[in-house]
Symmetry: C2
Subunit: 203 residues, 2 copies
Amino acid sequence: MPEYKIQYFNVKALAEPLRFLLSYKNIPFDDVRIQKEDWPEIKKTMPMGQMPIMEVDGKRAHQSLAMARYLAKQVGLNGANDWEDLEIDMAVDTINDFRNKIGAVQYEADEEVQKKKRVTLDSEIIPFYLEKLEAMAAANDGHFALSKLTWADLYFVGILDYLNFMAKKDLTENHPNLTKVKETVLALEGIKNWVAKRPETEL
Amino acid sequence: MPEYKIQYFNVKALAEPLRFLLSYKNIPFDDVRIQKEDWPEIKKTMPMGQMPIMEVDGKRAHQSLAMARYLAKQVGLNGANDWEDLEIDMAVDTINDFRNKIGAVQYEADEEVQKKKRVTLDSEIIPFYLEKLEAMAAANDGHFALSKLTWADLYFVGILDYLNFMAKKDLTENHPNLTKVKETVLALEGIKNWVAKRPETEL
């Protein structure tokens, strides 16, 4: 079995889908968590000045979605053919668009601008995306694609605490099908074991 | 051969990588271009209220990167194994991050905020990404990944006019390796034929 290393900050956020995917098949990995004070030095050595990064037998990769898609193939949570992979990618990219839109508000440096953007986020963007995502999960029997467990489900539940943190609300509340996605993933044996032993962090 | 339809506005922008990928293998497709005045009605029928969309034998897809990845597999511009696909995806996602960062400025509705953000874009973000992308193209012999032609190259050149339009500058100027990627893609027989016959549009 290859040696996996996931390197990120001591948070769930963008690395948690990767940790979920490996944990789903109980694949051991080196869970490296960089302390804030060490980051400026380490940042210089990162491909795009960002984390998470992944190493597989010492070969380094970056870009969280690209790495998640790779791991999904290793653990059998990808599609059975090109069209199925497209359906999963469509779901993942939609979830990621949602993340980017929430993140654009959360990381807006100008406080006044942020305040205005959060109003639009709360009144328009979040309701729009939640309605669409809830409908996708309803149409796929509590999953995001193919009416079965795929890496889109693990991606969503993996970043959910981070989304909730940035959105300042529980996004799955009152959305029974999104709640079902969450409960299904968290009930998976490998994920349950991982969640029980992972460091406790807010996001 | 499946029947392909690409539906978008009468611009290159996000649909052009899809049109490039099909044209690369001279695959005919229905090139539907929606007029601005018809968009409000059509928007309601789109999966996420957005275009481009693609239809393959009547089955509808959305999400431009997901569709491009699917088409890349149909025309043989994907990787030979999971790690190669990861390397291509890393390049594509990096190019797409660059697009998102330029787009965040271009589509900032508040004029004052936009002006301030464009200063940071020009002085920090664009130079940072161009240095990284130029280095990637240098390390891969005038390609973005695997030192050979992949869909990452077609994706970059496909959206380049759109990037230039939003950035208000010629991004490949004085970047010999990015220029090489561009020239290589535009010299491909299928792409040359497509460019010669496509509607002329600014972005």
